[in-house]
């Protein structure tokens, strides 16, 4: 199951809560303000590294670019809209709000 997170982790608990519900191997995709979670060396980097042990993690490049986020946590893959579509084709989706 693909989990998408679209809210900043600084203002919304989606990121921290969803982490408890992930099954091993479930891909996680950060979009919109959700991408603030993957900025390198922020408060959530440690939690993100825990997730990266068992789950592939993606962030949508246009959303990163729009927010000037150039340095992202190692292991997080930056993808374009095409990659987003591929993930949605391959998985059921859980859109955390």
């Amino acid at each position: 199951m693909l989990h998408t997170i679209n809210k900043s982790p600084f203002g919304n608990s989606s990121f921290e809560t969803s982490a408890r519900f992930l099954q091993p191997g479930d891909p996680v995709l950060f979009i919109e303000d959700g991408v603030y979670a993957v900025q390198a060396n922020n408060k959530f980097s440690a939690a993100l590294n825990e997730i990266l042990k068992n789950n592939p993690v993606y962030a949508l490049a246009p959303d990163l670019n729009a927010r000037g986020i150039a340095e992202i946590t190692a292991g997080v893959k930056s993808i374009e809209y095409e990659g987003f579509v591929e993930l949605v084709e391959e998985h059921q989706v859980s859109s955390w709000l």
């Binding site: 199951m1 859980s94 709000l97």
Partner: protein, 131 residues
């Protein structure tokens, strides 16, 4: 074309649909609208479950009296969902404990599960709707 149409009419398509309640009941409209959606889907005989996570567990808190804020109280409606064959109500144990609540504080019988157990149920759904 005709064949396809007749098939879709004859065979009931039942989907597994999980609703995730994650907001407190009165501060936003999300939980109430989610409840309305559940009732509509239940009318179509779908396999519905509801997971209460984070502040979503407050929707089930006993003793809510909304008279003073002039809002409709709908905790009792969650208690009546079994009348619509919606019987799978799951509550995230951590969310309950974090808020100092126990099963006795809730208006309806629920199944209290770990986050991982609810996460596994999510993967078994055709659709997961977050409210």
């Amino acid at each position: 074309m005709e064949e396809i149409e007749s098939e879709s009419c004859d065979d009931e398509i039942v989907k597994k649909i999980m609703h995730v309640m994650r907001a407190a009941p009165h501060g936003t409209i999300y939980t109430y609208e989610g409840l309305e959606m559940i009732l509509i889907m239940a009318a179509y005989d779908q396999d519905i479950s509801v997971a209460f996570i984070d502040d979503g567990v407050y929707a089930l808190k006993k003793g809510q009296n909304t008279e003073g804020i002039e809002m409709k109280g709908f905790a009792k409606t969650f208690g009546a969902l079994d009348g619509y064959d919606v019987e799978k109500l799951y509550v995230d144990q951590i969310s309950l404990e974090e808020r100092g609540l126990t099963e006795d504080d809730l208006v309806v019988d629920v199944e209290i599960l770990s986050s991982a157990e609810i996460g596994k149920l999510m993967t078994e759904q055709d659709v997961v709707v977050h409210h």
